[in-house]
């Protein structure tokens, strides 16, 4: 009983503390977002256009490879290119957040090592710019390929993904700080996860023998939900329940580990 209560408390705190802290330190949060934009754009010719141009170029690259070179076509259902872009843009956002999360504490160490800094806002902070940038491009894309209803639905997609990533963004920075190998392996894991998730291909295109990989991968469910929301394809309650369960299971321990590691984080570098 105590375990369940403690677990529930950690889930609740893990959800409320970061968001509560962002509200409490709203002025700081805004300045840090601005700092983040400057970090990406300063000294470049295109400046503030880069955050939009970069995902656009990535999309262009995937389109060229799969639509032109491989000439991939769907047998039925949505157009392949539309399908690819609908899944790829959110995934690029996820990949950026995951890769950055691994090095999060190193990146922000000048701020928290010598100042009383609210560390719990960092997981949300590193999601903000990718979410805004990819969100804007995604909205425009959905408007073009699916119309206003699709564009409206797209507004839910990235916030939903970011909320789901919250426990991961608490765990990865801790592991990335204390086990340096993580910084090397995470980009590889992100790439493998992309291949194991129906982004570049339709789920039906996968041979029977390897469908288990899709089944155990929560991103597959999330992709099904994303395609359902934006393109109106079928998805079931299992596609929602499964990632939600994983999220519930992860959030409590992730918050506990994040909270426990705070004194270590301030002293380790």
């Amino acid at each position: 009983m105590n375990f369940v209560l403690g677990y529930s408390r950690n889930i609740l705190q893990g959800l409320l503390t970061p968001y509560g802290s962002v509200l409490k330190h709203w002025g700081l949060y805004r300045m840090l977002v601005k700092r983040d934009i400057l970090n990406r754009t300063s000294g470049t010719v295109l400046g503030k256009l880069w955050p939009v141009v970069q995902p656009g170029l990535q999309v262009l690259g995937y389109w060229f490879l799969f639509d032109i070179v491989f000439a991939m076509r769907a047998n039925r259902g949505p157009d392949y290119l539309e399908y690819l872009l609908t899944g790829m843009l959110p995934w690029l956002c996820v990949a950026e957040v995951l890769n950055r999360a691994t090095l999060m504490f190193r990146e922000f160490s000048p701020l928290y090592r010598r100042n009383p800094f609210p560390l719990e806002i960092l997981p949300l902070l590193i999601m903000t710019i990718p979410c805004l940038v990819y969100g804007a491009v995604y909205f425009l894309l959905c408007l073009v390929i699916g119309g206003p209803a699709s564009a409206l639905a797209s507004l839910v997609v990235l916030p939903m993904l970011m909320l789901w990533l919250l426990p991961v963004c608490m765990l990865l920075p801790v592991l990335g700080l204390f086990i340096r190998d993580f910084a090397q392996i995470v980009p590889f894991l992100v790439m493998i996860t992309m291949f194991m998730t129906p982004i570049l291909y339709f789920p039906a295109m996968l041979p029977e023998g390897v469908r288990l990989f899709i089944w155990i991968n929560p991103f597959s469910d999330l992709m099904a939900v994303i395609h359902g929301l934006v393109q109106g394809t079928d998805y079931s309650w299992i596609n929602i329940a499964r990632p939600f369960l994983v999220w519930l299971l992860l959030l409590g321990p992730a918050w506990l580990i994040f909270r426990r590691s705070i004194p270590h984080i301030r002293e380790v570098l």
Partner: protein, 408 residues
Amino acid sequence: MQNPALSIQGVSKFYKLYDRELDRVREIITGKPRFRKIEALKPISLEVGKGEVLGVIGQNGAGKSTLLKVLARTLQPSSGEITVNGRIAALLELGTSFHPEMTGHENIYLSCAIQGLDRKEIDAIYDEIVAFADIGEFIHRPVKTYSSGMFVRLAFSIATQIDPDILIIDEALSVGDGAFSRKSFDRIMDFKNAGKTILFCSHSMYQVEALCDRVVWLSAGEIRKVGKPVEVITEYSEMISLAAPREESLATSVVKEASEKKDAHDKGVKSIPAIENVEVSVDGKVAKVHSLISGESNLEIRVRFRLGEGVPMPSVAVAISGGDGRILSSAGSFHDGVSLSVDATGKGVADIVFPKLSLLRGNYYLDIALLCEKGIHLYESIRRAAELHVDQKGLERGIVMLPHEWKV
């Protein structure tokens, strides 16, 4: 103590040492300790009254910096409770939250936000920060374009304009160069005069004694003694002399600062007082190296100085030190109640005479310092302005021949 500004109850800090980083991760996950302790601060309890200036002294590794960081909330204590009545500002490492690509204006908002101020509070002090930093149009340029002097000006201005109730100072009573050094010193003195609580950690016993109401001496992470500055500093200085005769003394700390101030003069800064020239003569003969006879030779020192623009009349101090750098004797115009003056061109002369110098056989050195009107803030100093080789006629031992008479 009723309603203290700062109350520390059983506060300790130990750093955790792990054989492997993986052990740290295991500990975080399981909650089971896997570390070896390095105790930086043993449980200490202390209260600091409102308006009190508390000096923190101790040798390197005594736990001073750890204590200050714990109080500044950049380190979490391992145990104990800290109660703070009011806002704390720490002059520990200035400008660490600055982002090089952001303008001074934006960095003001960022730094203040990190210190917990909301937009309205920052708006209210923004103009004062900019005025005090006095960096002109640079405030709208990225911080990466600032000189180191401009950088520290802005950082100091932010740290002190947030109107803290408690100010933590680690070592430096002033920052920057030239006129800003004096300005920042005045700002800290304003805090003292306004009855703010100050924690001042320093190796300069002279400054600690001049400023503090009470002194805490830390040794190996523990409080060794707390009390009036004169009592604690005397005991501490004795311990230092016995333990490590070459431990940094006032003379050496003066020298460190002096080289920095000298740079400012070399760059042509005219707004702060400066030493123009020092003449040391023995029995009327001016030289850099002198031979003296103990109890017979007269030592005369003439310091020519220049008064800066808009600053009060400075004071001059002279220290005689031995070969190991330890000060044997000193004299200052402020403490002797002597007022200096300057002519119409802003130049002045201070003469001091040591008649029949009673130092015994040995080699000694003269350090000269130009200080603020209260003899605390150092404008400039010259180390080893002259060398004195003292000989004697008798066989007396020691450093000095004290005035004495036999009654038989």
